[in-house]
């Protein structure tokens, strides 16, 4: 199991060090600094073995979080745990930075004592931790309160406490999808998938049981017997083929496996209900058509056509196309029909920004790039053109069909709950090779 946990700043100075096991000596702290943080070469793996001791590290915004062990531990668990600690710290004090870590070191030690015992991860749910790890110090807890805390930390429903009350029972669903695309210069889709998640914000009283329905193909096939997919599409009820999905720990997995129904008792406030991945029938919101011509050794012409490919009534937002330029670029002349384009020398790229663009439109940018003459034989590698955007629909075709709430003990019914659904499609890695 995890033998020790260290947090360093970017210089390799230790900010937090907690040792859980006797086989980890003080020199482990230095070993990691010398061999990984101060290593001459780029780190080639997040797992390093130094003198028969293994180090796992995660680096986030200049802070290194490292776990160390001498045993054959479950590596996936260690990384999941490190990421969880980072989450947890963020939810307590915001951004992970040297200042914040130092300012909260007592809190961090307290957390580390609670969520890792002898190297075994314990309850890491921030909602629950916040009920009893506070920086105020618990002075006046009644017996009932104490018992409630302990039963919650260890409880089956470790993610929700009893006795929550709201005047207005309300819930928000955000379907957030990231479209990933890799396209060849000829416009052939090399790979495309949607990584989606459903984020739920719930303000519900009591211990509500929820049932969540989506237009998943398997469920819909069972329902609309006899209709095949095409007929369903024609009948205005498109379905989505989900390759794989995973759920927050509140969802009863065995029930999903057998009945394909998603039922759960939600944590209070915001959480990620499910994540899913689809690869079939993705509507790609934008298409980038690049044309690169190298004119001699000192000049290059680039033309990029951008087409929006969704309903004309909808608006795409925060559109940004990033066109990489060679390292020896000396000057760029730009003309674009829409939005603003700039050459950013420090990033070696032309950045073309468009605030809004309706569906089924087309616009273009042309650039003349002047190059300095160089003697290096090596050709420019032409990194892909990437783009960012946000559209108000789910590119996978994912639809929420219902979310029903049952609270048997309290007297509010499903239709009294105010429900909101929003669909957002964003770019993940959206790249076109040129």
């Amino acid at each position: 199991m995890i033998g020790g946990l260290f947090i360093y700043n970017h210089k390799g100075e230790v900010l937090i060090s907690r040792v859980y096991r006797d086989d980890i000596g003080r020199n482990a702290v230095d070993a990691f600094r010398v061999n990984v943080i101060h290593a001459r070469q780029q780190v080639r793996s997040p797992v390093t073995n130094i003198a028969r001791t293994s180090f796992f590290h995660v680096k986030r915004s200049n802070i290194w979080v490292a776990a160390v062990t001498k045993q054959n531990v479950n590596a996936a668990m260690v990384f999941e745990f490190l990421l969880k600690i980072i989450d947890c710290m963020q939810s307590y004090f915001g951004k992970i930075s040297e200042e914040n870590v130092k300012n909260n070191f007592v809190l961090i030690y307290e957390l580390l004592d609670e969520i890792l015992d002898f190297g075994y991860p314990q309850n890491t749910d921030t909602g629950v931790l916040k009920t009893f790890i506070t920086q105020q110090g618990i002075k006046s807890q009644t017996k009932e309160e104490q018992a409630q805390i302990t039963s919650q930390v260890t409880g089956q429903i470790g993610w929700r406490r009893e006795g929550i009350k709201y005047r207005r029972n309300e819930l928000f669903l955000d379907v957030l999808e990231f479209v990933n695309l890799l396209m060849s210069p000829q416009g052939q889709v090399l790979s495309a998938h949607v990584a989606g998640k459903v984020i739920m914000k719930s303000f519900l009283s009591g211990m509500p049981e929820c049932k969540f329905g989506i237009n998943d193909k398997i469920v819909m096939d069972n329902k609309g017997k006899g209709l095949n997919t095409e007929e369903q599409v024609r009948s205005g009820k498109p379905v989505v083929v989900i390759d794989d999905c995973q759920f927050h720990q509140c969802v009863k997995l065995s029930k999903f496996e057998t009945e394909h129904s998603i039922s759960f008792i939600p944590p209070d406030g915001e959480f990620e209900l499910m994540k899913y991945r689809t690869t079939k029938d993705i509507s790609l919101p934008f298409r980038v058509i690049p044309l690169v011509r190298e004119v001699g050794r000192t000049r290059m012409e680039v033309k990029v056509v951008l087409k929006s490919n969704f309903k004309p009534s909808l608006l795409g937002q925060k559109i940004e196309v990033r066109i990489p330029t060679p390292l020896n670029t000396s000057g760029v002349q730009l003309i674009c029909m829409k939005g603003k384009a700039k050459y950013k020398a420090s990033e070696n790229a032309i950045v073309w920004k468009i605030k809004r663009m309706a569906g089924m439109k087309e616009t273009q940018l042309s650039a003349e790039i002047e190059l300095l003459e160089t003697d290096t034989k090596k050709k420019w590698t032409r990194p892909p053109i990437s783009m960012n955007f946000e559209v108000p629909f789910a590119p996978s075709g994912f639809k929420v069909r219902y979310l029903k709430v049952f609270e048997p003990k309290l007297n509010y019914s499903d239709h009294e709950v105010i429900k909101w659904v929003r669909y957002i499609g964003r770019s993940g890695l959206y790249e076109t090779r040129c």
Binding site: V14, P46, A75, K102, E110, D117, K379
Partner: protein, 912 residues
């Protein structure tokens, strides 16, 4: 280190100020503050101490002062003091004892959070006195009403076991821990599982504590559905260590854990994959296996969307899974296409998996991807991509032409390292498809000058030599290389030598001079490989050019499609470690850990059930079908049934006159275990060694005669030989080698024979042996094939190693382990004899046996018998348990042998 005087002018409000310390008199000041009357000041002082401790300063001098602050109702302060205690208690054991009172008091506090905190902290303090005082509070906490306290106590048992295993066993904590498996709270169960698994792994006796049976597994699987994510991991990891009794059990466990594949935590997913991969080996129902295969695909692909660090763990594991069961991901090659922004460690892993998944169906896509990668930035990655194109060519014949074209395009880029790498793989393509692509040789020759790496140069030279008859200026090209011969890498030198000889054999008229030049260069170097190869060619060419042609220009076997595969037994072992560090390193745990206790893991061997036996009734299953048992019998190469013994006289056995001893020795010799008994029963002073036997008669040994035997002295095995020279010439230059054998016996030192050994001379040699060599099963098991070299030639003979030399000095088994093992081993493993006509004194038996590393565990007096229980451990970790009943009267002693083994590793090696 943090700078000692950091000032945070902006952030005076947060705790960062505690890092701000002045250097001088710091400890002194802190001491004063710690003893202040004001609570606030004391708390701040403790914070400063902790900050100093973090930075690595030694603040142990403040121990008594910090300890003073322990008695407080402020939980935050208490936790800080405990943190300090955990760090320094070991260095101040006497002072630490002062904390006991508070701990014991806290462990009975009304607040469960404080009870748990006390027990949690106490377990982390490695001071013997404190551990002793821990027992009572721990026992109370294990029975606490509050689940939070109980789950903390469960982990505390593991902590205590780490400090003092004997104490845990004596206090009966293990049983209490086992009881917690049935607790109603999921987290208590989860922590109990984690603690038990750890204790089992580190149990010093090397024998697993038996706690996992089908009922226990059933409980765990029920708890699994209710557990938090970490608990699910603990449970799944221990289920992975359990081998189901029969196929239906395996299937039902699989069905129950499949839903975990949809869990958001990657570790839960991977641990589920581990169990499924292991159980798939057992399941024979093809349809079920297909179902599992289908279910495994989507979660594995989904893992590729996680954080890069997790992705890395996933990819390393997928690499293993794909080698074992490629069908799981064969349609998903696109998922492994590299993203421009992936960290380099992800890119390299993805590339590796891509190649493994390449097939006729997808090679078109893969190839165009690989070509794209050829223009990436990272040199290692580009090289690997180029190499991958070559591997595609070798793997899929239909596409080899396209691959070669792609490689040529890459050569045109003139990027130095791309060209070199391309040349190396093109050589492999030639070796797979000889005489198919020689058209491109011209293009290759053009880039001759750019090649500066040895491997690329050697590959190019090989190509020129191989196709010398078609390259007009082959002679000139090779001559060009020859100019700098002395400065070349040995790889290039060897290749150049061979290539020029090939050229000479193909076009003798033009290259006579060249070949002479290279031969004389090669034979004058210091490198023995190069020199000897030079001489061989030289003699071949001068003695029989036709034979030379046959040898040098013979047809070469084609190279294989699959490369870089892990060795199958290692792969199987690693699959049992899915998700763990071993699977990330692709190395067995022993390769990166200090000490590995317990068994090495191996995939279970499938049950071969007939229709009838696959019923649920476990009773109906013949236990001889369980794998380890069969192996033991196999290993010893003995029919264990008593009827199988052949009773024959053995020539020179040392006897004390009774005919029965001969009988006994021969039957035991079948087992290869008899000698110590002989010794015990006879009057020979211990330790026993058998007399030397004639191993190699002079007639077969070209005049060398060898008598020899094996003995065990000072816990080492020696081979003792008498070498006699019966020939007329003096013998010299002795050397010895053994063939692979069942016990991995190899000479630990070179053979030392005074040479020359004159005619009729004789000498005694004692050769130290070790058992660390490679293992291969021999028949009979203790057979050893030996090769002895001397100035006359190489001589071969075989001999038998008496079993008793393998008895190790640490064969004393723990009493309880002995007892439980004896009970567990089924009757089939038992062999019994009666030693007739023999009166034995138990005391002498015990003593004599001990001298031969047969340890007496227990001695009992039952009615009219004396019963001895003994254990023996062999060098390969095989254990043998013995029971001897010695009657008081005139009847005969009975000996039972029970055999089992620890260390599945050695067995598997023998069998595979």
């Amino acid at each position: 280190m943090l700078p000692h005087a950091v000032s945070f002018s902006i952030l005076k409000t947060g705790d960062a100020k505690y890092f701000t310390t002045t250097k001088k008199g710091e400890v002194f000041e802190l001491k004063a503050e710690l003893n202040s009357d004001k609570k606030e000041r004391r708390r701040d002082a403790v914070k400063k101490v902790i900050a100093a401790m973090t930075v690595g300063k030694d603040v142990s001098a403040l121990f008594p002062d910090v300890l003073n602050c322990m008695q407080t109702d402020n939980l935050e302060l208490k936790k800080l003091v405990y943190l300090y205690l955990m760090n320094y208690a070991k260095s101040q054991p006497d002072l630490a004892i002062m904390a006991i009172n508070t701990f014991v008091k806290d462990s009975g506090d009304a607040n469960p959070l404080i009870r748990a905190l006390a027990i949690r902290t106490m377990g982390c303090i490695r001071v013997d006195k404190i551990s002793e005082y821990l027992c009572d509070p721990l026992r109370n906490c294990l029975k606490d009403n509050d689940p939070y306290v109980k789950k903390t106590a469960a982990v505390c048992v593991a902590k205590l076991y780490d400090i003092n295993p004997q104490l845990v066993e004596d206090q009966g904590f293990l049983d209490e821990l086992k009881e917690l498996l049935s607790d109603s709270n999921q987290m208590v169960v989860a922590n109990a599982v984690a603690a038990l698994s750890e204790i089992t792994d580190s149990s010093p006796s090397g024998t697993p504590l038996v706690w996992m049976d089908s009922t226990a597994i059933n409980k765990l699987l029920i708890a699994l559905n209710e557990c938090a994510e970490w608990g699910q991991i603990f449970i799944l990891d221990s289920v992975a260590n359990y081998t189901p009794q029969h196929e239906l059990e395996a299937q039902s466990i699989c069905e129950r854990i499949i839903p975990r594949l949809a869990h958001a935590n990657a570790a839960v997913k991977l641990s589920t994959v581990k169990v499924l991969m292991k159980y798939m080996e057992i399941i024979t129902d093809a349809e079920f296996v297909n179902m599992l295969t289908r279910k495994l695909t989507p979660p594995l692909v989904t893992l590729l969307a996680s954080e890069p660090e997790l992705q890395y763990v996933a990819l390393r594991n997928i690499n293993l899974i794909v080698q074992k069961r490629p069908e799981i991901l064969k349609r998903e090659v696109k998922a492994f296409f590299v993203n421009y922004n992936d960290p380099i460690y992800i890119k390299l892993e993805k590339l590796d998996i891509m190649i493994r998944l390449t097939s006729k169906e997808n090679i078109g896509q893969v190839l165009s991807e690989l070509k794209e990668y050829g223009s990436e930035v990272d040199v290692d990655f580009v090289r690997k991509s180029v190499r991958a194109i070559g591997r595609c060519a070798i793997k899929v014949e239909e596409f080899s032409e396209r691959c070669v074209t792609t490689l040529l395009e890459l050569i045109q880029t003139k990027v130095n390292y791309v060209v070199q790498e391309a040349v190396v793989v093109i050589k492999d393509v030639f070796r797979k498809y000889p005489n198919k692509y020689e058209g491109i040789i011209g293009i290759l020759c053009e880039c001759l000058d750019t090649l500066d790496e040895p491997e690329a140069r050697a590959s190019m030279i090989w190509i020129i030599g191989e196709y010398a008859e078609r390259i007009d200026n082959a002679g000139d090209l090779l001559e060009g290389f020859l100019h700098g011969f002395a400065d070349e890498n040995i790889q290039v030198q060897l290749q150049l030598l061979t290539a020029i000889v090939k050229l000479f054999l193909k076009r003798p008229s033009e290259s006579q001079e060249l070949v002479q030049q290279v031969l004389s260069l090669a034979t004058q170097t210091d490198n023995p490989d190069l020199r000897d190869r030079g001489f061989i060619y030289w003699r071949l060419l001068s003695a029989d050019p036709a034979a030379a042609k046959e040898v040098v220009l013979s047809e070469k076997p084609l190279i294989l499609d699959e490369m870089d595969l892990l060795e199958p037994s290692l792969l199987d072992e690693l699959l049992c470690h899915i998700s763990s560090l071993a699977s990330v390193y692709h190395k067995p745990p022993s390769a990166f850990m200090d000490e590995v206790s317990g068994q090495r893991k191996a995939l279970p061997i499938g049950f071969q059930f007939s229709e009838e036996t696959s019923s649920l009734d476990a009773q109906s299953i013949d236990s001889s079908e369980e794998c380890p048992v069969v192996e033991v019998e196999d290993l010893l190469g003995v029919d264990m049934a008593p009827t199988g013994f052949e009773y024959g006289p053995i020539g020179q056995s040392a006897t004390s006159g009774e005919s029965s001893v001969d009988l006994l020795s021969s039957s035991l010799d079948e087992l290869g275990l008899g000698n110590p008994f002989l010794c015990a029963l006879s009057a020979i002073p211990a330790p026993y060694s058998s007399p030397k036997a004639l191993w190699l008669p002079a007639a077969k040994g070209k005049g060398l005669e060898i008598y020899g035997t094996f003995v065990r002295k000072n816990q080492e095995i020696y081979m003792e030989m008498t070498l006699t020279n019966q020939s007329t010439d003096a013998l010299s230059d002795f050397a010895i080698q053994f063939n692979k054998n069942s016990f991995g016996v190899i000479p630990a030192l070179p053979l030392q024979v005074p040479s020359p050994l004159p005619p009729n001379g004789s000498c005694e040699v004692s050769l130290l042996l070790s058992t660390t060599g490679s293992i291969q099963k021999t028949n009979p098991l203790n057979n050893l094939q030996v090769a002895i070299k001397n100035s006359v030639g190489v001589l071969y003979f075989t001999c038998l190693i008496p079993m008793h030399v393998f008895f190790t000095g640490d064969g004393q088994m723990d009493r309880r382990v002995f007892l439980s093992t004896w009970k567990e081993l089924p009757a089939q493993h038992e062999v019994q004899y009666t030693l007739e006509n023999m009166a034995l004194n138990p005391d002498i038996v015990v003593q004599k046996m001990k001298q031969n590393n047969v340890f007496t565990i227990a001695r009992q007096h039952v009615e009219d018998h004396d019963v001895l229980y003994q254990s023996i451990k062999l060098t390969n970790n095989l254990w043998i348990l013995v029971e001897i009943r010695i009657p008081l009267g005139e009847s005969f002693p009975t000996v039972s042998w029970l055999i089992f083994f620890v260390g599945a590793l050695s067995m598997n090696r023998i069998l595979s």
